[in-house]
């Protein structure tokens, strides 16, 4: 019967399981039957009544917000119960130990470990698995208790260099705002400052796999001396793959790794981009009073110079003036 068929096709259309042919068939059946077309159009247009939903959500949210900052209830309760019993028996001396133990357990559940390099400083740290990490100025790295389980996940904002201890059973994954890097035993550099519209991954040794958040199906494998650059202009991302030179022995004047030795290296970069690096390196804020200077192309190496000396070095190749007020640097023509 036709009405049976219409019902079946309407059902498929509603649950988004209808094929193109089935949709066309439904269309034809409905054209031939105005009565069925009328009821179909009513059913088609039924949707959620949005009125009042936002208010409902707001009120509910107010109720749950205070509960979100509390630690997981079940885990705490069990531990507190155990602790209370133990303390009663062992007495005061044990209190300190018990407290430490409880605190350690508690922290392991609830908190993330965070390593931050303040502006104007680079840092070197050792992760629990023996992996060495260098953080460039103004960078942040965090991980939680899962780090020691089956996977090693870290969250990064800023620029870091990693020397990862190889362990095939426990993949090492670096998450940044725009991309993830799956490490396959290696040393490499990641630059992904939240306020930059550019993310970079550069491999020194080994192999990594990069996954872009915006197109998860796109996976890029990087080999030594390969660098992936993800630039975002407006809403579009563009990818490019470039080679970068090998560091010559101790004289590692490669921008990707030199920052670890407090060196600031730049090659054919715009003044604007160099200024951004300098802001992090020297913990200053740099503003251009003349827009055209931003586009000047600069190359150079700074080694542990102060901001004044660095700017004076730049003046040797590019004519500009600067003045410094506290931590604010003004660049003008």
């Amino acid at each position: 019967m036709k009405s049976e068929r219409i019902a079946v096709l309407m059902a498929k259309k509603a649950s988004r399981s209808a094929s193109q042919e089935e949709l066309e068939e439904l269309e034809q059946l409905l054209t031939a039957d105005p009565g069925a077309a009328f009821t179909a159009s009513i059913i088609d247009r039924m949707g959620n009544n949005a009125a009042g939903q936002m208010e409902f959500a707001e009120q509910g949210w107010e109720k749950i917000v205070p509960r979100l900052s509390a630690a997981p209830v079940t885990a705490m309760r069990i531990k507190r119960g155990w602790w209370a019993a133990a303390a009663a028996v062992v007495g005061l001396t044990a209190t300190g130990i018990g407290w430490q133990w409880w605190r350690h357990q508690h922290l392991a559940i609830a908190s993330r470990q965070e390593i931050t390099a303040p502006l104007g400083q680079t840092m070197k740290a050792l992760l629990p698995d023996g992996t060495t990490v260098w953080l460039n100025a103004g960078s942040k790295l965090s991980y939680d208790q899962r780090f020691n389980n089956s996977r090693r996940d870290i969250q990064v904002s800023g620029e870091i260099f990693l020397d990862v201890i190889k362990n095939d059973a426990r993949p090492f994954v670096v998450h940044t705002r725009k991309l993830d890097v799956h490490v396959l035993g290696t040393s490499f550099n990641i630059k992904a400052y939240d306020d930059d519209n550019r993310s970079e991954v550069a491999v020194v040794g080994g192999k990594v796999q990069v996954i872009m958040h915006n197109s998860l199906e796109k996976k890029v494998i990087l080999l030594p001396h390969e660098k992936l650059i993800l630039s975002t202009i407006g809403k579009t991302d563009s990818l490019s793959l470039v080679n970068f030179p090998e560091a010559n022995g101790k004289d590692s004047l490669v921008a990707e790794t030199a920052w670890r030795e407090q060196k600031l290296v730049f090659k054919n970069e715009t003044f604007e981009s160099v200024a951004r690096k300098m802001e992090r390196q020297f913990n200053v804020s740099i503003s251009f009073e003349d827009e055209s200077l931003k586009k000047e192309i600069l190359s150079g190496v700074f080694e542990k110079e102060g901001i004044v000396k660095a700017l004076k070095l730049l003046q040797m190749t590019t004519p500009f003036h600067f003045r410094i007020q506290q931590r604010q640097v003004y660049i003008s023509k």
Binding site: G35, F38, G47, N48, F56, V65
Partner: protein
């Protein structure tokens, strides 16, 4: 909301982003509340069930990537909590006045385009309410909550074929109930059509 679900989940898991969590809550809470209400038939317990599910989700946020389909997960969590609640001895013995408000959450057709009469709106609401329970729930999940047949199958623990079959029953019943509202041809000589 221009942020994708993936982006929201990522921010919640790795940035502990409460604003992202709030966005997820706002997107889903009302639907889940309606779903919970369908089981427990009382406003306050339904609200509590849904809020508990969200609080637990926040506590487990660092394992979010282990959850396959977040929407299915939320509905299933609400369903399980609601069924557990029903198994417990009833705490609310007096009639829950709030349950009268359920009419607010009926399906609303797009009134402007159809110029529906009040009578027809009532008929639509009551036609949906009169569907057999399972049929009604599936119809609401698909039409109201915009879930796919696969998601509905996952939530209710039935096969996708059953979802489509139940939906077809709903469509047939609704069509039968609403047919009498179809505009009659204006000309007097237009014959009655027998289907």
């Amino acid at each position: 909301m221009h942020v994708t679900m993936e982006e929201l989940l990522y921010r919640i898991q790795f940035h502990d982003d409460q604003l992202a969590f709030k966005a997820l809550y706002q997107q889903q809470v009302f639907r889940l509340y309606q779903f919970a209400f369908a089981f427990v038939k009382q406003r306050q317990p339904a609200e509590e069930i849904v809020n508990d599910v969200f609080v637990k989700l926040w506590q487990k946020r660092h394992q979010l990537d282990k959850i396959g389909q977040i929407r299915v997960y939320l509905y299933v969590a609400v369903k399980n909590a609601a069924l557990n609640q029903l198994r417990r001895p009833a705490i609310f013995t007096e009639t829950d006045l709030d349950s009268l408000h359920v009419q607010h959450f009926r399906l609303e057709p797009d009134t402007e385009q159809l110029l529906l009469t009040h009578e027809l709106q009532q008929a639509i609401a009551s036609a949906v309410e009169q569907l057999p329970p399972k049929c009604k729930m599936i119809f609401k999940l698909v039409k109201q909550d915009e879930l796919s047949y696969k998601e509905v199958a996952g939530i209710l623990g039935i096969s996708p074929k059953t979802v489509d079959a139940q939906l077809a029953i709903a469509m047939k019943k609704l069509a039968a109930r609403l047919q009498c509202f179809a505009p009659v041809p204006a000309l007097p000589d237009a014959g009655e059509k027998n289907d």
